[in-house]
Amino acid sequence: MQALELIRTGIAENTDINPAAVAPASRLDELGIDSFTLLELIFTLEERMEIELGSDVGTPETVQDLIDILQPHLPTDG
């Protein structure tokens, strides 16, 4: 699954935000994802991908930032 799809699924699981409204350029705060919700979202993604991002996550501000964080952990065969 592509990073964007994973993020949309995670957002749908944790919030009432319409996943169709989630685009790479979307700002997380404008979507209504605060730092607290982001923690849970990242945890959900880590569980799903069976990875641990630890403190490498930094402070993503957009969905693209999140994609960039997840991308290296995705299987390369697409």
Binding site: N14, T15, D16, F36, T37, L39, E40, E52
Partner: protein, 421 residues
């Protein structure tokens, strides 16, 4: 300073009881009045550890539709039940959701004995049984015992107070009583007060079971397992539940034309300071007398007592003796008493609010709910006028008490009066 000590009358303008059999709070009251029990056989646990016991429990609730995913993902069910209960009471009080700044003259006092214990239990299971090594970052805010009060405050913009009372079986009664004092003493205009608990986790059930305090029963007998004042009573029935009262100063309620359901006229609290489990008649008498004094009510004014009545052998008899001592034998013999736990079970930190709400409805409707399943009376519980078999009409009732006596020795008595006559 004079302003902060002014005495306001405190009224109930909204209330709610969440009960697994469903319906609104009036439906819950009608079932209590009909002696219809919500107790069923509860099967718990898994292949490793489990069992069954009579209990009051909810079918899965669709919290997400009513509270939204974000709230649900960050709350334990005890906080979610608290929000649903508050929603209903808030609506009944004809209040609107605050749009702007939190109201510094409004607050919440919430009771819970066990708080987020199910979050803890799930966490331990994940670690020790499922071999997981991580917990959700929401775990702290889900498990903390002030989560329900916090969520209520956020949802309704209650900017004055947010206090959680964990006083075992008296938690919600004490939350209501302390909230009442904030309004009475002029510190607050409006308080949300109540309690919520879900005490049916494996650890909690087994802990109570180890004390031999849970009433036994099977599929056929579970509904009648909790029998306060009965000679064959075998103990309490644990219940999931939540209930909420909206309290306001009389002036505040009148100013906005709110429905006034009853007056919370007095609150008495005491501590047995004697034994952690065995109730002490003297402590209970002190709480009853304190409530009557605070409410400025004479013995004769009280037309009903909703007893703590958990259906333990010792507790029920001691409570009856306390009522007899507080009111005198002659008055006590004519004083209607019932224990509604026979139908709604013992919802721990919520039970005081459930019983307070039923007491308000009994007053308002002039109808006293009976102690269900009381076909025979334990001679040790004689000396008060037990309401049995069916609801008793009480059109002239003026005032009523709701007793809550906790493990640990904390006692709380709430005195309600009618305002419509």
């Amino acid at each position: 300073m004079a302003e902060s000590r002014r005495q306001s009358r405190v009224v109930v303008t909204g209330l709610s009881i969440l009960d697994p059999l469903g319906g609104d709070t009036n439906a819950v009251f009608e079932r209590a009045a009909a002696g219809q029990s919500s107790v069923r056989l509860f099967r718990y646990g898994d292949e490793t550890i489990g069992g069954c016991t009579p209990a009051v429990y909810f079918a899965p609730i669709d919290f997400e539709t009513r509270l939204g995913k974000a709230t649900c993902r960050s709350t334990d069910p005890f906080a979610r039940l608290a929000l649903l209960a508050t929603d209903e009471a808030w609506q009944q009080a004809q209040l609107t959701r605050p749009a702007k700044e939190p109201d510094p003259r409004a607050g919440v006092h919430w009771g819970t004995a066990l708080g987020g214990i199910n979050t803890f239990e799930n966490g331990y299971r994940a670690f020790w049984k499922e071999g997981r090594k991580r917990l959700s970052p929401m775990s702290v805010v889900m498990g903390m015992n002030n989560a329900a009060a916090s969520q209520i405050g956020i949802r309704y913009g209650l900017g004055g107070r947010s206090v959680t009372h964990s006083v075992a079986c008296a938690s919600a009664a004490i939350a209501i009583g302390e909230a009442y004092e904030r309004i009475r003493d002029g510190e607050m205009d409006l308080m949300v007060a109540g309690g919520s608990d879900l005490p049916l986790g494996v650890g909690v059930l087994r802990a109570w079971d180890a004390m031999h305090m849970l009433a036994p029963g099977d599929e056929g007998s579970a509904h009648g397992a909790c029998r306060p004042f009965h000679p064959d009573r075998r103990g309490l029935v644990l219940a999931e539940g939540a209930a909420c009262l909206v309290l306001e100063s009389l002036e505040h309620a009148q100013r906005r034309g709110a429905p006034i359901l009853a007056e919370l006229a007095g609150y008495g609290a005491s501590n047995d300071a004697n034994h952690v489990v065995r109730p002490d008649q003297r402590g209970q008498v002190r709480a009853i007398q304190a409530a009557l004094t605070d409410a400025k009510l004479a013995h004769d004014a009280i037309g009903y007592i909703n007893a703590h009545g958990t259906a333990t052998t010792e507790g029920d008899a001691i409570e009856v003796r306390a009522i007899r001592e507080a009111f005198g034998d002659t008055r006590a013999e004519r004083l209607p008493v019932s224990a509604t736990k026979a139908v709604h079970g013992h919802a721990m930190g919520a039970t005081g609010a459930i019983e307070a709400a039923l007491t308000v409805l009994a007053l308002q409707q002039g109808k006293l709910p009976p102690t269900a399943h009381l076909d025979r009376l334990d001679p040790a519980c004689e000396g008060v006028d037990h309401v049995r078999h069916e609801a008793r009409p009480a059109p002239d009732i003026r005032a009523a008490l709701s007793n809550s006596f906790a493990f640990g020795g904390s006692n709380a008595v709430l005195a309600f009066t009618r305002t419509d006559a």
